[in-house]
């Protein structure tokens, strides 16, 4: 944990924000109180697009497994259930 005065925080704000964004605990002392600097870093558009791509791939993979689990457990899915398309895709060609 790093403790700084308000004057030090004003002089080094960019550095403190960067360090807080990486998880370092930053505390500013002001008027006898200790104020924790809490930072939530937004991903860049490129990082966000990559995270979304990975999330969509992970959900697709999970869905394939869910389709298999339904067969293992003998669950009959209704005709309009989205998992049915994954089951159809896994059927061996006749």
């Amino acid at each position: 944990m790093t403790v700084v005065t308000l004057a030090e925080a004003q002089a080094n704000l960019a550095d403190l924000l960067r360090r807080a964004a990486t998880g370092e605990q930053i505390v500013i002392e002001h008027d006898g109180a200790r104020l924790a600097l809490s930072v939530a870093r937004l991903p860049t558009p490129e990082e966000d697009a990559e995270q979304q791509r990975r999330a969509e791939a992970a959900v697709r993979d999970l869905t394939r497994e869910m389709a298999r689990w339904s067969v293992e457990d003998g669950v009959v899915l209704p005709p309009n259930h989205p998992l049915r398309s994954f089951l159809e895709a896994e059927k061996p060609a006749a």
């Binding site: 939530a40 870093r41 999330a55 969509e56 689990w69 339904s70 457990d73 669950v75 899915l77 998992l83």
Partner: protein, 149 residues
């Protein structure tokens, strides 16, 4: 990640407050429904908000499903691996538990741990993703829309 709703660190819009029972159903084939699967497909492209009690409720639903033979440890482990990649954000709203959440629970005669969803949806003006009959009824009575994936 645990942050107040107004600083959820995501570029994707917050789309709904998500009931743990919806997510838990993804590992219980007997509970696979069209709605829970539709939510599953929608989640990667948005952000979702959950109350601070969410992870405990998820664990409780898993416990029940394991005890009844509805799922397996391996399936739960598989789901947890996927959840780690999804944009779920936990609202740090426990300061409302003894005031507004309790009031909501009493007003709709639902357990406090279920009222956390409704209180959060009202406070953030987000729709609620649930298949629970009690929670759906309470949400409708409160003017909270149900999430349409």
């Amino acid at each position: 990640m645990r942050f107040p709703a107004y600083v959820a660190p995501s570029r994707r819009p917050l789309a709904c407050v998500l009931d743990a029972e919806v997510v838990a159903s993804w590992v219980v084939p007997q509970h696979f429904t069209v709605y829970t699967s539709a939510v599953q497909f929608r989640v990667p492209s948005v952000s979702v908000l959950v109350p601070v009690t969410w992870v405990y409720e998820l664990a409780e639903v898993f416990r029940g499903a394991l005890a009844s033979g509805g799922t397996t440890d391996a399936r739960i482990a598989r789901l947890l691996g996927t959840l780690a990649m999804l944009p779920f954000f936990t609202d740090d709203g426990s300061e409302h538990a003894l005031t507004e959440t309790l009031r909501v629970a009493r007003a709709h005669a639902i357990p406090v741990w279920r009222a956390t969803y409704l209180e959060l949806a009202v406070r953030t003006q987000l729709p609620l993703a649930t298949e629970s009959a009690d929670l759906s009824r309470a949400a409708t009575a409160s003017g909270v829309p149900l999430f349409t994936p």
